[in-house]
Symmetry: C2
Subunit: 539 residues, 2 copies
């Protein structure tokens, strides 16, 4: 019989401590629903009372199968648990579970709190008892447990026993400053269990300050702990918390964990992991980390020539799991390290089956190399790569040509003496023998100037004659700009992610020293790719 | 007596397998020099013959104290080591050391190479002997050793013994697909040593596919291996290699490693670690990972209110090492989670000492919150934050005001019938009672159009009257653009990194739905910050 492992998510609380991260209430609700669908056991929603967004979230918290948990701290000394307003605000969130952080490191009790060691023990005992008396599941986050145990094991254990005896369902060993290495985490967890805190009431909370948060959590589990606290995408204070996006597939797919334990995550949930990880990045407007284990765009990208050719024979040669199990996919990236076999594989993924000896293959490789030298990058901009390949293969219909454009941005005072800006674009397009001139302003319905790229896109989309209906549902969803090196001087690389009504998403690239120009190039590629893929007729 | 640990860097070889990474030869030289200054033992420069950049690098390789190493593979079956042209190209690089990868997993021998198990043993033996006979230090990278050992331990060990007996100085256990967890790495390393491969000839090469590459390397060291292979910033195929930027401070500063081992890295070298990590990102035009352990901008950022107030009392409360030891710094970021004590700390870091009860403090916090809601972000844009605070404190001199600007981008055919673009800007500035109108084109000396932001910057810098001399040495070094949410609609956030002649670097932010406008706002902040910091007189 496998042991049950419990997964506790703190993306909405410790994850919010990430520099640059601030969730809105609707975002918290969306993330909580995704976590619940994934199958986590606890969702820690925030610290009610400490910050208005968190309080608002608990007021509007969705129904979940997972146990919704409010975070707070043990009561302060010199007052009863009943009369501590900070604790009261936490309990007022009315969640079925409450997790309270408290001190276990003697130095912090006397230094940071300035109270006696006994007062702190009383704070733990009284706070946990108060939660339990109110019918809540109580969790105790033992702050700095590992440092505290090294400094004064008797006192650290006394704190844990106080929480246990007061009825805490879970006692969570926290490596708060992230400085404890996995061997020490495993050893101390085993010693805590030997000292009378049962493993099936023990949780582990690690941080990634030595890049071993995941390994530390695994070491605690092997020593007997049965709850893991972590965050999606490893968000969290400083270097982040233990990354559940990595831990979940490891626990489900890798030995000895897969046979020894079971969790609340199903195989179906696991296949949604990549999607959930990307959704969180979308909400945060973060570029997803390509190198992220399991879910990163590069996690199954085989760039080395030797690896790529073996993978084509048998994926097991260089993959430790099947990427489909976590909803990810294999990539054989184009780059000047890649050979013709990678290229043919990638073309075939796009539905272009090219025979082994086709003369366009070396030409495509050379053009990619030349363009990468200029600053282009085709690892991500798959749609631009496809257009390049189609042109080389003579498989690119002629749709339209942009003859010229002009765009103006002006900022000045309006008649109400307020500084405002306005952009205006003219685009001249040739379709067959027809020349069409379109003009557009960048002002949206709300009267906001959306800038020169928007004005150009609107002018371009105003009259594409026979192609109009193909492009009406294109929406620009992301726009990334990097200054990069093209040949000897700096150029701007723009990558545009577009989406259409069917939810299809594609990336295109433009490079120029002029940012508007680079954007326009990527924009034109985005339109051309849609026309090709939707089978628009050539002129 | 501490044991000597050897550090082997493969940033220039396995690191180049990162998706999107392609070093030029001059970049490789710069990185090799930085690695050498840091104190690494081996620098693996690439695979001579496999790719033109790598061959060019070895031709031009700098003098290093570190042992320069060429990478390649064991000879193919059916020919002698002397007659294998791939191996010959590796040896022709004339490096003092040569590292050859070879198979040790029976499945790969028969499946990927399609040769017999004995032929593979002979390939290892003959190739290593050939290198040794040529007076080179030979290293054997045992590909897929851990999977191979699990599948067929006798054969895997036979491969290692073949390399040992042929005279390999180092036999490196490679977890090529990144699928082995630290406990298995430790156990198998110990078994390999027990089977007669001495630990002081054993190396470890891990990948981060389960986010445990660092922990895996540490486990091998605890089991007796004495060489670690890894890369700076964890670059590498798929999810990357073991991150030396993390491992180095852990080995030097954390127990039990710090007392038990010594490396070639000095305390001085360690203090340069953050700088080297950022330099590599600069070369790659990558945004440095804020959450990177030890060297990330967030690694010592204390956002949680409780942490921040304790840190101000005593940094040891929430920091596992002193950030100065790795050349990093503590940050108390501004954000709407932060309280007044963080704010005062941050202002004091900028030289603005504000008393506890100053009425501007709540006003600054409110303005930051309001602007973050609009899409601004002050975690990174410290210079813009400083200007905001100075304005609220009444401590911002009046320098100049931009009354209006206009910029045009045009793309059309030139007289030679080639498509070219040109940008042109007009900026009107008021300094005291004087109005100045400046016009500039975006064309640089080479005749390249540098775009609208450049044209605006040039027009602005053309005539700033008394401020001209302060801004002459400002250089735009990075320009980051993100589409983000401002209130209810998408806006563009531009962050500009500027540098001046003294090497000082600062970040400013601008937000608008119009990218040119957002850029101009960040540009103006960059100029204003320099004028404040350099003590330019008010008008």
């Amino acid at each position: 019989m496998p042991d049950r492992l419990y997964l506790y998510d703190t993306t909405l609380r410790d994850g919010q401590q990430t520099q640059g991260v601030q969730f809105s209430t609707p975002e918290k609700i969306r993330i909580a629903q995704a976590l619940d669908a994934l199958g986590l056991d606890h969702i820690e929603g925030g610290w009610p009372g400490a910050n208005p967004t968190d309080s608002a979230f608990f007021d509007a918290a969705p129904e979940t199968r997972a146990t919704m948990t409010a975070f707070g701290m043990t009561k302060r000394a010199g007052r009863s648990a009943e009369n501590d307003d900070v604790l009261a605000a936490v309990l007022n969130a009315n969640t079925p579970a409450v997790c309270l952080v408290g001190k276990t490191h003697d130095f912090h009790v006397t230094e940071a709190l300035g109270i006696t060691l006994d007062e702190n023990l009383d704070n733990i005992r009284a706070s946990i008892s108060h939660c339990v008396a109110q019918g809540r599941e109580a969790l105790f986050d033992a702050e700095h447990l590992f440092d505290g145990y090294k400094a004064n094991p008797d006192y650290a254990l006394a704190c844990l026993r106080a929480a246990r005896d007061a009825g805490a369902r879970w006692i969570v060993l926290c490596d708060t400053n992230g400085g404890t290495l996995p061997d020490d985490i495993g050893r101390i967890t085993a010693e805590v269990i030997a000292a009378g805190i049962p493993g099936d009431r023990l949780g582990i909370h690690t941080h990634n300050d030595t890049e071993t948060a995941v390994a530390g959590a695994l070491a605690a589990i092997m020593a007997g702990a049965r709850q893991i606290q972590g965050t999606l995408n490893g968000l969290g204070e400083r270097c982040g918390n233990a990354n559940l996006t990595t831990l979940i597939p490891t626990l489900l797919l890798k030995e000895p964990y897969a046979s020894r334990f079971e969790t609340g995550i199903t195989r179906d949930g696991l296949r949604g992991l990549t999607r959930i990880s990307r959704m969180l990045d979308d909400i945060l407007n973060r570029v997803p980390m390509r190198q992220a284990p399991y879910v990163g765009a590069s996690a199954f990208a085989h760039k080395a020539g030797l690896h790529a050719s073996a993978i084509v024979k048998n994926p097991a040669t260089y993959e430790h799991i099947d990427p489909a199990m976590v909803g990810n996919a294999r990539i054989i990236p184009m780059s000047n390290q890649a050979g013709q076999s990678n290229l043919r594989q990638r073309l075939s993924d796009m539905g272009l089956d090219v025979p082994r000896d086709h003369p366009a293959l070396p030409a495509i490789l050379e053009e990619i190399k030349a363009r990468e030298d200029q600053g282009y990058s085709y690892d991500t901009a798959q749609a631009s790569f496809e257009l390049l390949a189609r042109r080389a293969l003579g498989d690119m219909p002629r749709f339209f040509e942009v003859k010229r454009y002009k765009v103006t941005v002006e900022r000045r005072k309006n008649k109400y003496d307020r500084m405002v800006s306005l952009s205006e674009a003219v685009v001249v397009v040739k379709i067959g023998e027809d020349k069409m001139l379109s003009v557009s302003e960048s002002m949206d319905e709300a009267g906001t100037d959306r800038g020169p790229v928007n004005a150009l896109a609107k002018a371009l989309a105003k009259d594409l004659g026979p192609y109009q209906r193909y492009i009406d549902d294109i929406r620009l969803v992301d726009f990334k700009v990097r200054i990069t090196q093209g040949g000897t001087e700096a150029v701007t690389r723009v990558i545009i992610d577009s989406e259409d009504g069917t939810g299809r998403r594609w990336s295109t690239v433009g490079v120029s020293a002029n940012i508007v120009d680079a954007s326009f190039e990527a924009l034109i590629d985005a339109v051309m790719w849609k026309l090709v893929r939707d089978g628009a007729p050539a002129t």
